[in-house]
């Protein structure tokens, strides 16, 4: 039980250290305090933002998989991220002077509506093949995305939309990422209520049988997932596959007793994003590849492998 944590924590600290010391500007060259300035204003915020986003998305993915009772669901395969982007766009159009936090609230509300719609559709479709579920989510996301693109195109906001949908941490500076701490707070709430989400993952009948207020816990889960997704879309942009890959690997090794596994999910999510970001920064240095793109490539490969190897557990 302690083992994964014992391995994960030094690895994550190491990755965080590498992350802080990776970059174009040299930290050692100037000893007039510029190195320190660089760390405090840019490098450390970036590393923290990466870890917060990674942990938040991985935990959100786990919760969504329990809510939808399907292993292939995460915020970017259930319409959640697309709905959050629509909310951001509407906020930008209707109330352009709203601070980012306000826009994030709009994004959280539309993400909530979109994800709730997704779960409603699932309830109404009688035969739920394991692969049908993410397909429905991708279609819903596609429809929402089409609406957002249409509006963004007309109001010349395609560039902002790109920023929301594709994770890029190169723009992270102090005072520009702090909303992500809300995601951490929500992740802690998820941990405190982890047993409930495990019970939800056992199905509605078993959940009601042990006296769980099913609808209330689903609502709590939806709220957590929507808010976390919204903070990420509003600050650094969506990172695909993370919420699929990390929970699936952890589940394969440790199972799904979330009280035990959620910390491992969070730490692994943070670690994977850190690693992808470092790769993206080193490959074509001094330029960089956005973490969303790196994660897209690595994540889809890992995910394909998981899909092929654990089809029997997919449901």
């Amino acid at each position: 039980m302690m083992k994964p944590a014992l391995i994960a924590i030094p690895v994550i600290l190491l990755l965080a250290a590498v992350s802080v010391f990776t970059g174009v500007g040299s930290l050692a060259a100037a000893d007039d305090g510029r190195g320190w300035f660089l760390v405090v204003e840019s490098r450390l915020p970036r590393t923290l933002a990466l870890m917060l986003a990674g942990a938040g998305l991985a935990v959100s993915g786990t919760i969504m998989q329990m809510l939808a009772r399907n292993r292939f669901v995460e915020p970017s395969t259930a319409g959640t991220a697309e709905s959050a982007a629509l909310g951001m766009l509407l906020a930008v159009l209707i109330a352009p002077n709203l601070p980012v936090a306000g826009k994030m609230v709009c994004a959280a509300l539309t993400a909530l509506a979109g994800t709730a719609l997704f779960l409603q559709i699932l309830r109404r479709i009688p035969l739920r093949s394991a692969l049908m579920v993410p397909l429905i989510g991708l279609m819903l996301g596609g429809v929402v995305n089409a609406i957002t693109t249409f509006i963004a195109y007309r109001y010349d906001l395609m560039q902002s939309m790109g920023a929301w949908m594709s994770g890029d941490f190169s723009v992270v500076l102090r005072r520009r990422y702090e909303l992500l701490w809300i995601g951490l707070a929500l992740t802690l709430v998820a941990y405190a209520t982890a047993a409930r989400f495990t019970v939800i993952g056992m199905g509605e009948a078993i959940a009601r049988n042990v006296g769980l207020n099913y609808d209330r816990v689903v609502a709590l889960g939806l709220a957590i997932v929507s808010m976390v997704t919204a903070t990420i879309v509003a600050t650094v942009g969506m990172i695909p596959f993370l919420g699929l890959v990390v929970p699936n690997i952890v589940s394969l090794i440790m199972g799904d007793n979330l009280r035990r596994t959620l910390p491992v999910v969070a730490v692994s999510g943070a670690g994977l994003v850190l690693a992808c970001d470092i790769v993206g920064r080193l490959l074509i240095a001094p330029y960089e590849i956005p973490v969303g793109t790196v994660m897209g490539v690595i994540g889809s490969l890992i995910f394909l492998q998981l899909l092929l190897s654990r089809r029997s557990h997919a449901g």
Partner: protein, 252 residues
């Protein structure tokens, strides 16, 4: 005591359960039998508040199931359904431990741990207790779910077709186990069964349903007679007494 008063449940104008009134006294094993679509499983789901009823009332030891808080009822009554397909990948031990959820809300006490040990031992699951459910055979998994219900330790235990998909050995073991829950632990066991001979051999009471209505109820001696079975299932049959058990032969 479970009191069912005038319970009705319809889908699109079609009454699946139609004004059923029934009283099940505490203790013993009651089987619910009847042809497909008679409303057996629906009635069980309504009694265990997994499904709302349209009209009527169900009281469990005087508690109205549609009004009682979920966790209060979960300490009185438990149900095991046939389709236990779960997404969460849990070990046998974790699954059984969740039977304590109504008491512990996920934070297990020493008393909970004792219940878990006992349930696992009672079902002979020690060798597999750290295996994941998806690594077990159908019969082992079924036993794990029964251990979870046993661990929930409620006075009333409901089982919806627990013998489905089990081979003869495991079906007999499961029925003997349910019988022991009634005999050794003073539980009130209610089982939906398809096989009349299982119902005949292991029940204290048999309740027969037909087209959503309560058709007959009584002891196996009263119920396992050709005329009644003919009326319930619409098949000709003979009943043979073998020792103390009455066996139904519907093959001729």
């Amino acid at each position: 005591m479970i009191e069912i008063h005038e319970v009705t449940k319809s889908y699109g104008g079609n009454a699946v359960v139609d004004r059923v009134s029934l009283t099940l006294p505490a203790g013993g094993l009651t089987s619910i039998i009847g042809p497909n679509g008679a409303g057996k499983s629906t009635l069980l789901s309504i009694v265990s508040r997994l499904m709302p009823m349209d009209t009527g009332k169900v009281l469990v030891d005087g508690l109205d199931v549609s009004r009682t808080a979920g966790d209060v009822l979960a300490r009185r009554l438990s149900i095991m359904r046939q389709d236990n397909h779960i997404t969460a990948r849990l070990s046998v031990r974790d699954l059984v431990a969740f039977g304590r959820y109504p008491y512990s809300k996920g934070r297990l006490t020493a008393a909970d741990a004792e219940h878990i040990e006992r349930s696992i031992a009672y079902l002979g699951l020690e060798p597999y207790q750290n295996r994941f459910l998806d690594e077990l055979s159908g019969g082992q998994r079924q036993r794990a779910f029964i251990a979870m219900v046993l661990c929930q330790d409620t006075d009333y235990m409901l089982f919806d077709e627990p013998l489905n998909n089990l081979d003869i050995k495991h079906a007999v073991e499961t029925m003997k186990l349910l019988r022991r829950l009634a005999d050794d632990f003073d539980k009130t066991v209610v089982v939906v069964l398809h096989d009349i001979n299982f119902a005949s051999a292991y029940s204290d009471r048999i309740v027969a349903m037909q087209a959503g209505r309560l058709a007959f109820e009584g002891s196996p001696e009263d119920m396992i007679v050709p005329s009644r079975l003919q009326a319930i299932f619409d098949v000709d049959c003979r009943v043979h007494a073998v020792g103390e058990t009455r066996l139904v032969n519907y093959f001729e």
